[in-house]
Symmetry: C2
Subunit: 308 residues, 2 copies
């Protein structure tokens, strides 16, 4: 049998991501012991009942004491408060890591509280579903996914190697980049798509000529895919947009400019320009399928109907 | 055994939709004989090889002569030319129907050519995939989907009833509405979502700080769902936008206004307003799942990872 990577892992925040890490770590035997904590008494009670941790602690202190790895898995906006609560109790030589969708802002908040005797490895698993809470997690969530690590001035090489081993153990591939680059890449691949999805679902709800029931009935025409994205955790996404404001506003500006150009093509019947754009976007899709990033097509064979 | 609904059906246009209708009609025994025609010699040859029609005709005339039902399944922009070619050969008392994603513009084009002795039932099955061509079709494409019929001045009650029976036979539920209402409903549930998906995939391809390979690698963060939509048939979609220009520009205007408001919320740190919007969009998603319009969740149980 291989040695577990860690003696004791503490997971702070037991929602979709935190509870999936706990389940994955147990399923793969990556730690001798997994302790969990959540600020919500209801979530703690539910986590105890579900039993995906060896113990659910009643305080952050009780969870992180003696842990060689602490994983912070809370909404980005709750980072500062969570770090303040647990930082004084971090064990000597322990590693703190987290899973926030924004890196530069989170790193600033963590470094303000991190004690001298601990190190910090910022991370971001590119995985999730539109569901949230401790019931939504599952051990396989990170399999075949990417996890980005963005080392900072308080990351030791050894700690980065250990956190890399954790994510590989959970089935992910690991990529290293700077926090600033991460925030730009994710703004365009994740934050703007979510923003647009939230926006169109809101717009559709307000069209007075079309009933809500019609929107729902005929959603297979394309709208449905947006509603899945727009069903993602509201608190998490509020925090993402407010904490990656600069990159989000920059990319949103580009999106809006391009949309204005597209609107102009339609108004002026420029079929050739439309065809050129749509042909280009189809080729990008092909690249994603070739890269194996569409598990749905891979897992289920037949594409699900979505178009019109 | 039940009697087939039609003696002879002719299908003009043998792409994803036309070939799926042919396959479904054969599988369900809805007609004694299915004849097919496509303007492309390559598609005709492929359709012959695939064998989903009883005969693949070499001219529109040969396909539609003696057919009691003619189904036009070509891109919206090809409607006028196709109707011109087949109209003189429509059998006395025959029904012409079609499947275009836009109704008012298509009806104008068909009525300009329709002979006195035939009737016309405009229709639109809300089903499809991002794939196109005769190989992409399958008999079950319309099962559990909606088909909208938009009767016009040249639709007899009897013809509407027969076309309704066809779609029910293919497994769809049928809804009747006016062409104008259809064009508004579909603008918001289908045309604008596609337009936005095409747009963001184009924007992402142009961000110079982010490589194409990064966009593809980290697409699981939300972008991937857009690329599937943005991979839809370029010709079909060019035609949809140009033929439903008025409703598309109107809905696009609303979308852009809402997006500007959302942008402002982010710039001014209005977390409360963001949270309110995201909570509202999550509830709409719930409505779609309850209405059974998310076959993916229904068929496959576990949601596929998409979020961040």
């Amino acid at each position: 049998m291989t040695e577990p990577l860690f003696d004791r892992i503490a997971i702070v925040g037991l929602g979709l991501i935190g509870s999936s890490i706990a389940r994955g770590v147990k399923a793969r035997g990556l730690a001798r012991r997994v302790a969990g904590y959540d600020v919500s008494p209801e979530v703690r009670a539910r986590a105890s009942a579900l039993g995906f941790c060896d113990e659910v602690a009643e305080t952050p202190q009780a969870a992180v004491t003696q842990a060689s790895l602490v994983v912070l898995a809370v909404p980005v906006g709750a980072t500062a408060a969570a770090v303040k609560a647990l930082a004084p109790h971090l064990a000597r030589g322990s590693i703190l890591t987290e899973v926030g969708s924004v890196k530069a802002a989170v790193i600033r908040q963590v470094l303000a509280e991190l004690p001298e005797h601990a190190v910090f490895v910022p991370g971001h698993p590119i995985a999730g579903t539109e569901h949230s809470g401790p019931d939504a997690g599952f051990a396989e969530l990170f399999e075949g996914r990417w996890c980005i690590l963005t080392p900072c001035e308080r990351s030791s090489e050894e700690a980065v190697a250990k956190v890399t081993a954790l994510w590989r153990g959970l089935g992910s591939a690991v990529e290293i980049m700077t926090p600033e680059h991460h925030d730009i890449v994710l703004a365009i691949t994740s934050h703007i798509p979510h923003l647009i999805a939230f926006n169109i679902v809101g717009t559709a709800a307000d069209v007075e000529e079309v009933t809500q029931s019609e929107v729902i009935k005929f959603s297979a025409g394309g709208f449905r895919d947006f509603t899945r994205i727009a069903a993602s955790d509201p608190v998490m996404w509020r925090d993402v947009f407010l904490n990656n404001k600069e990159a989000v506003l920059e990319m949103l500006g580009r999106f809006s400019e391009d949309l204005a150009a597209l609107q102009r093509m339609i108004r002026w019947d420029d079929g050739e320009a439309l065809l050129e754009l749509f042909t280009r976007t189809r080729a990008i899709r092909r690249g994603i399928i070739d890269a194996g990033q569409d598990t749905q097509a891979a897992d289920f064979g037949r594409p699900h109907g979505h178009e019109d």
